[in-house]
Amino acid sequence: MNKLFSTHGRELSALIAIILMFVIFTGIDSIYMSPDNIRDIIEQATIYGLMGIGITGIIIAGGIDLGVGSALAFTAVVVARQAVNGVHPVYCMLLGIVIGAALGMVNGLLVTKFKLQPFIATMGTMSIYRGMAYLYTEAIPVIGVPREYRFFVDGEILPYVRSSILIFVIFAVIVHIILRYTCFGNHVYAVGGNEEAARLSGVRVGYVRTMVYSLGMVGTALAAMVQLGKLGAGDPTTGQGYELNAIAAAAIGGTSMAGGRGTILGTVLGAILFSGLKVGLIVAGVDIFWQYVATGLVIIVSAYVEVLQNTLSSGPAAKRA
């Protein structure tokens, strides 16, 4: 147990928080534990979770991406237009993934080739991608997304299981494997921990950082396509502020904003905690504006838990170093 806590402390605390959340909200209203409600929570977690998974890799490598919300809108409207035009859902998906990878790569190249600070570079593309979404649609939502597409990305393929959840799980597993069990993933952690040491160990830092932005934005593209399936329309105004929710999911799950530390499992749990809280506050009948306050508190408390865990686990020796 002790060992488990030392290696997976953040995931465990997120898990404990989720259990606590379930106990409390079920105590308030037993409907919280109903299968419908749980499905609701997980479905809501899908969008932020997919984006959060992508951004987790970026943050681990020492970057940040503020452009994911705008990229979500752009991807959604382009894919919506193709789906409306009758393109097969599989090709729609592939197109979306390619768009995501390309938008992410632009961010990555701005950071690596032009040496821009990630915050500024992605703030710039945040505005550009939003503008592209408006220009592409002339600010009119793309409506009439066909049923086949909507079923493909969000249909109930099994009782209580929608394909979007499958997409969420599969993407989470793939990124987890990439980060944990490939050279690229090992390099992501090393670059985020100490870029210079990584470079002097022969790591191609520029390549790693560019690719992690690209991979991260694929998560956003998947989120865009899932949301498109849920809503049935590609709206160029969608996704505003989503970047903060995605970063919050990662932060709650223990990803260090300083880089070098974080896990996909943590982010998935963070996303579930995040959406469970939203649903719970609605179930409990709390005024909708309190949700913002509660969400903020969760972010701050979970960050403080990390500070506490760091002090406890490393002790005064690490403090001095």
Partner: protein
């Protein structure tokens, strides 16, 4: 007799896995210039850090003018009139001279800062110190010497009783040094007590009244400078043990008929060095000596591929190579163990196992996947061969002592099976026992047929360990000294005069 200005009684300081100061006791008289001497790692900087409140001693007491004193932090020491002129000068580069001078001590009038009064006072202090830069100049436009003067001005501003200088002349020109000495003598004349750290013995004899020698964290002796000669001082500083450790215990493996790395006409893009020629042989330990700024580190970085070379050729076992990225260096079987471990050697977020595997990850792949078990096994084996303690793959490298962190970095490069190991200041800041282990590891490496380049500023270890020593000065190779006919005096002469 008058109360001593400072009196240390049994001051000790330990860090994890290292005793940096061991029950040091001595006294400093009021108004004297007191030198603190010792080799790298002898404990001089640790003693000063304790004295200035950077960290508390593990045990022992400190008296200032007979009053028992402890400082919670550097600010408290500052307020008590105890100022340190830093080795690395810390000021806010974007702020002006007067803003830096009054930082934390701002003069106010009606709640607002009184800019005019502060500029005026800055001007006065600067003229006392015979400085010719403007109070309104930005700090980042000043030379190192000028920045130092600004720190001295700060000491005057707060009416310092004691000022410490930590290697103040290391980046000063000889003219600036002379000016600084003049100032220090003026300070002494004002009754201010001076602590002076330098490894340049000439300066000690020119400037100081008494000198205290530390060695391996312990107090050795305090001498009146007038009554002592250079040889005695050196003998006290060096001590037999280090010289004994830094020696080859096994026969040389150098095979001069087998050149491994041939460098010809190498020049850097940034202009740090040019026309560098040398050859490294199979099984050889090749030392590189030079003063700070001689370009040794830069040459090594260019060979490895960390920096670009603009001219010159490199041949590896007869084959011409060009390393334009560290990845090329790694592929060509070259390892660079950098001087700054924490900044360049390992990632603080990674465990030993991940740090050791970092440069050779591909070896632990099964299909496309890197296996944790493979990395773990590798870490155990490499950790064992470098005598890492604790040899725990899951342990975070950042929590290791300096010597063990260095062993992790060596293990990382053993894991790549590099043939050429470049060690830049390999024993900097690690304790004597760990030094001895690093020396022994170097002998292991040449026994396995590797070749080593050792860049070091510590002459005893260079002389003790190297088969040959190359001396650099101002970006050029100025001498090559064979084993047997080299001593500290020879090396230093080449390094200083070419």
């Amino acid at each position: 007799m008058e109360q001593p200005m400072i009196s240390f009684r049994g001051v000790s300081k330990s860090f994890p896995g290292q005793v940096a100061l061991d029950a040091v006791s001595f006294e400093v008289e009021k108004g004297e210039i007191h030198a603190l001497l010792g080799e790298n790692g002898a404990g001089k900087s640790t003693l000063l850090n304790v004295f200035h409140g950077v960290f508390p001693p593990t045990s022992g007491e400190m008296f200032i003018e007979g009053v028992k004193t402890t400082f919670a932090d550097t600010h408290e020491a500052l307020m008590a009139g105890i100022v340190k002129v830093h080795q690395e000068i810390n000021m806010v580069p974007e702020m002006t001279v007067w803003e830096n001078l009054f930082l934390g001590l701002e003069k106010r009038r009606f709640g607002f800062i009184n800019k005019r009064a502060m500029i005026e006072e800055t001007r006065r202090h600067l003229s006392v110190l015979k400085c010719d830069f403007s109070p309104t100049a930005r700090a980042n436009t000043l030379s190192v010497g000028q920045k130092q003067m600004l720190q001295v001005a700060k000491a005057l501003l707060i009416n310092a009783r004691i000022i410490s200088f930590d290697e103040p002349t290391s980046s000063l020109s000889s003219k600036e040094t002379e000016t600084l000495f003049g100032i220090i003598r003026d300070l002494k004349a004002k009754g201010i007590t001076i602590f002076y750290i330098s490894h340049k013995l000439d300066e000690i004899f020119e400037l100081c009244d008494r000198a205290t020698v530390l060695r391996d964290g312990g107090y050795i002796n305090t001498f009146a400078v007038a009554d002592i000669d250079r040889q005695t001082l050196i003998k006290n500083m060096v001590g037999r043990d280090v010289a004994m450790f830094a020696a080859r215990h096994r026969p040389s493996r150098a095979d001069y008929s087998r050149p491994v790395l041939e460098i010809e006409g190498l020049a850097s893009e940034a202009g740090d060095f040019s026309d560098v020629d040398f050859t490294l042989h199979h099984g050889e330990i090749l030392g590189f000596f030079g003063l700070v700024g001689a370009g040794r580190t830069e040459v090594m970085r260019a060979i490895f591929g960390a920096d670009r070379a603009s001219r010159g050729t490199m041949r590896l076992k007869g084959r011409q190579i060009a390393n334009r990225h560290p990845a090329h260096g790694v592929e060509n079987g070259i390892a660079l163990i950098p001087e700054n471990r924490k900044e360049q050697g390992f990632a603080a977020n990674l465990s030993n196992s991940d740090n050791i595997a970092l440069a050779s990850l591909r070896k632990f792949r099964k299909g496309p996947f890197v296996t944790s078990a493979g990395k773990r096994r590798n870490a155990l084996i490499r950790g064992e061969s470098v005598r890492l303690y604790p040899n725990d793959p899951a342990f975070h490298t950042r929590n290791l002592s300096g010597g063990n962190a260095q062993k992790v970095i060596v293990a990382k490069w053993l894991s790549t099976e590099a043939d050429i190991m470049i060690l830049d200041e390999p024993t900097k800041g690690i304790d004597v026992a760990a030094k001895a282990e690093i020396y022994s590891l170097m002998e292991d490496m040449v026994e396995e047929g590797k070749s080593i380049i050792m860049v070091s500023s510590e002459m005893p270890e260079l002389i003790g360990m190297s088969d040959r020593i190359i001396v650099m000065r101002e970006g050029r190779v100025v001498a090559e000294v064979g084993r047997g006919n080299c001593d500290e005096h020879t090396l230093l002469t080449y390094a200083v005069e070419g």
